[in-house]
């Protein structure tokens, strides 16, 4: 049985194992035991409300309860940029117009901003390659939206996700080559590494502070602004199907997009509903397959749990929960659950 729950210190070795397998370009889960230990401790404090809510950094794991193994991880940062400085470029439009000259030019212009400061970030998603099936990825990613729906007061009204930007097969980022590299002599991979270990803010000291007119960059760089790395395409599509949109914020290094949504516009939040649990002994066979799956959360903060149930479990006034699942969700009959269809049924 696959279940989402807060990370605990017991997950340390599983997490280290996962981090070993992330590969190049996934800076959010560095293969660095000390850092991972810190992340776990910080998450535990967050779930136990031992940090000021805006500074909380939550981390969830996907556990295969059949073998007690952690096979995936994801995170939510309550408000970014409160402890360090959060930078993005924002693509703005500069219009030059003169009716007398017949000129009406729109020039995309990059502004270095701290505008996502205070927004909630969904981040650090990673799933073991063996488990990339059976909707595990969607469960892992979307479980967070139920947490947002259950505890909106703990988060910003705007949530975003940073997407890894385009780089070629050699790992070269045309955006970096055209911009960052001109302002400090450093390879992209080193800049990327410094970012991963938390050095983004001080690297930004070397970045240009005044707006950059995009046509000054190379054609290649202009073309990849807001593009995601091909490995990240599915993640982007998933978030967009939930109502996330690209609204002009990009990474200062690789030009990858930050896509954003107001929490109340996220489909899984908007369409989620509360209903009483009905714990049952002999569940019917699921019909309709993956398409009709629902996410259900136990609505607990410190012991947050999410699992998938078939659409047939959703009754007029109740949700059927098999005994074994009830145990994993730590609920009894009559408890109020939150549920939402795993996919947007209209799309």
């Amino acid at each position: 049985m696959m279940i989402i729950r807060p990370i605990t210190e017991n997950d340390f070795s599983d997490l280290c194992h996962l981090a070993k397998n992330t590969g190049f370009g996934v800076t959010s889960l560095p293969d660095n035991p000390d850092l991972l230990q810190t992340k776990i401790e910080r998450a535990e404090k967050a779930f136990n409300k031992k940090v000021d809510p805006p500074h909380a950094k939550y981390m969830f794991v996907l556990e295969d309860t059949d073998n007690n193994k952690v096979v995936g991880v994801c995170g939510i940062e309550a408000q970014v940029g409160l402890d360090d400085v959060w930078y993005n470029y924002r693509i703005s439009t500069t219009v030059n117009a003169s009716t007398e000259l017949g000129v009406h030019n729109q020039t995309p212009t990059l502004y270095l901003t701290n505008d996502l400061t205070g927004c909630t970030e969904v981040c650090s998603l990673f799933l073991d390659a063996d488990y990339r099936k059976n909707s595990n990825g969607l469960l892992l990613s979307k479980s967070r939206f139920l947490f947002l729906a259950d505890f909106p007061e703990m988060f910003s009204e705007k949530v975003f996700a940073e997407m890894r930007g385009y780089s070629d097969e050699q790992g070269h980022s045309p955006f970096w080559e055209a911009l960052g590299k001109k302002f400090f002599t450093m390879e992209f991979s080193r800049a990327d590494y410094l970012t991963g270990i938390g050095g983004k803010a001080f690297i930004a000291e070397l970045m240009p502070k005044y707006p950059i007119y995009l046509p000054f960059l190379s054609k290649e760089a202009q073309e990849v602004v807001g593009l995601v790395h091909q490995n990240t395409e599915p993640a982007r599509a998933m978030l967009e199907s939930e109502g996330f949109n690209f609204n002009g914020f990009i990474d200062i290094f690789d030009g990858g997009p930050a896509i954003e949504a107001f929490v109340n516009n996220i489909r899984a939040v908007r369409e989620s509903f509360k209903r009483h649990a009905q714990v049952i002994k002999n569940p019917k066979e699921s019909v309709g397959g993956d398409k009709s799956l629902y996410l259900v959360s136990n609505r607990s903060f410190s012991n947050f749990r999410v699992a998938l149930v078939p659409g047939s479990s959703i009754r007029q006034d109740t949700i059927d929960i098999p005994v074994e699942l009830a145990e994993q969700l730590q609920i009894c009959s009559g408890d109020v659950l939150r549920a939402v269809s795993l996919r947007d049924v209209k799309r």
Binding site: N96, S98, L179, K182, F183, L206, Y213, F216
Partner: protein, 338 residues
């Protein structure tokens, strides 16, 4: 005999021909007949002290062959750069990007749009018939302005500036413009230059983006063009440097060409020029070549002539020179070594 004198309307056709000659493309002299006509009109009113031009006089001198009546060159002086509108340039500056942790202090050259040269006296519209480029008459034409300004300091600003044309590539493109202005106008240099002529340079400048430009983001060719004079302007640059002009921090917003600056009182011609009372005489022969002008503002004349300078306040000139300068006995002339 070649003399420099204020332009008149009868010069219009000749000036238009000059302005549309190929090598004149690097001059700030407009090429449209109506603009030229306006310019001559402004100059006539300026030399006449017309109130309408007060404080923003625009003088246009011509080099005339008095034997044929042909105009062989022009040289302009605007009392006040911008002529009442803001006069825009880019100022070369730099920013320091420091990371104390990385022990890095990067100096980043940037260009700021500025109008701080507005109101200084501007030398402009210098053009000369190709045949006369290499001759002493080029120097006569260019330096005649220094005598005018030296004689009538109170009519000009104490700071003089000159914008030197920037470099173009083999296809006639301007690398600085192509890498910068073009992005915002979607037109080539020639078209922008045309509009700059018929509207005003200020008009174009105000359409340029207001944020500073990071030099490292320009093309290599554009970076190389910053502050580099056009080959055709090198001779004039040489002459101006000899006079005491120096390259400043400012460059042209279109072609990136340099701006030369000097204070009137520091110019060699101004420092060395002398005024003496004329004694007309037939017995002058030989002597050193001088730039010589009369003492009149509205009927300014400047020529090259040979003088034998002595100690007293009187200098002998011959009849022909007196006629060219339009001076009579005991009127004063001013002269500086050629």
């Amino acid at each position: 005999m070649l003399i420099v004198r204020p332009s008149t309307f009868s010069d219009l056709a000749s000036i238009e021909k000059l302005a549309n000659h190929n090598s004149a493309k690097i001059s700030t002299l407009p090429q449209q007949r109506d603009k030229l006509s306006e310019k001559i009109d402004a100059s006539i009113r300026s030399f006449a002290g017309d109130e309408s031009m007060e404080g923003k006089e625009q003088f246009l001198l011509v080099l005339e062959n008095t034997d044929t009546g042909d105009v062989l060159g022009t040289a302009g002086v605007d009392r006040c750069a911008g002529n009442g509108q803001p006069f825009y340039n880019y100022r070369q500056d730099e920013l320091i990007h420091s990371s104390h942790q990385l022990h890095v202090n990067n100096h980043i050259p940037v260009l700021y749009m500025t109008h701080e040269l507005t109101g200084k006296t501007l030398f402009c519209s210098l053009t000369i018939d190709t045949e006369y480029r290499g001759t002493e008459y080029f120097e006569l034409l260019s330096r005649s302005r220094l005598l005018l300004i030296g004689l009538f300091k109170e009519r000009f600003d104490k700071d003089i500036i000159i914008e030197i044309q920037g470099v173009s590539d083999d296809e006639g493109g301007y690398p600085f413009w192509d890498s910068l202005g073009r992005h915002f106008f979607d037109m080539d240099f020639a078209t922008a230059d045309y509009y700059s002529g018929i509207k005003s340079k200020t008009f174009i400048a105000e359409l340029m983006p207001s944020h500073p430009i990071y030099v490292p983001l320009l093309t290599e060719a554009a970076q190389a063009a910053i502050g580099t004079p056009h080959p055709l302007a090198e001779k004039n640059c040489q002459l101006l440097h000899r006079e005491g002009f120096r390259v400043g921090k400012h460059i042209d917003i279109f072609d990136g060409g340099p701006t030369l600056e000097a204070q009137v009182g520091h110019l060699n011609t101004v420092k060395s020029m002398q005024s003496k009372s004329v004694k007309v005489s037939e017995s002058t022969r030989g002597g050193v070549k001088y730039l010589i002008c009369n003492g009149s503002f509205s009927d300014f004349r400047c020529v090259i002539g040979q003088l034998t300078d002595g100690i007293g306040d009187v200098i002998r000139i011959n009849q022909a020179l007196a006629k060219d300068l339009n001076v009579s006995e005991s009127e004063r002339i001013t002269f500086a070594v050629l």
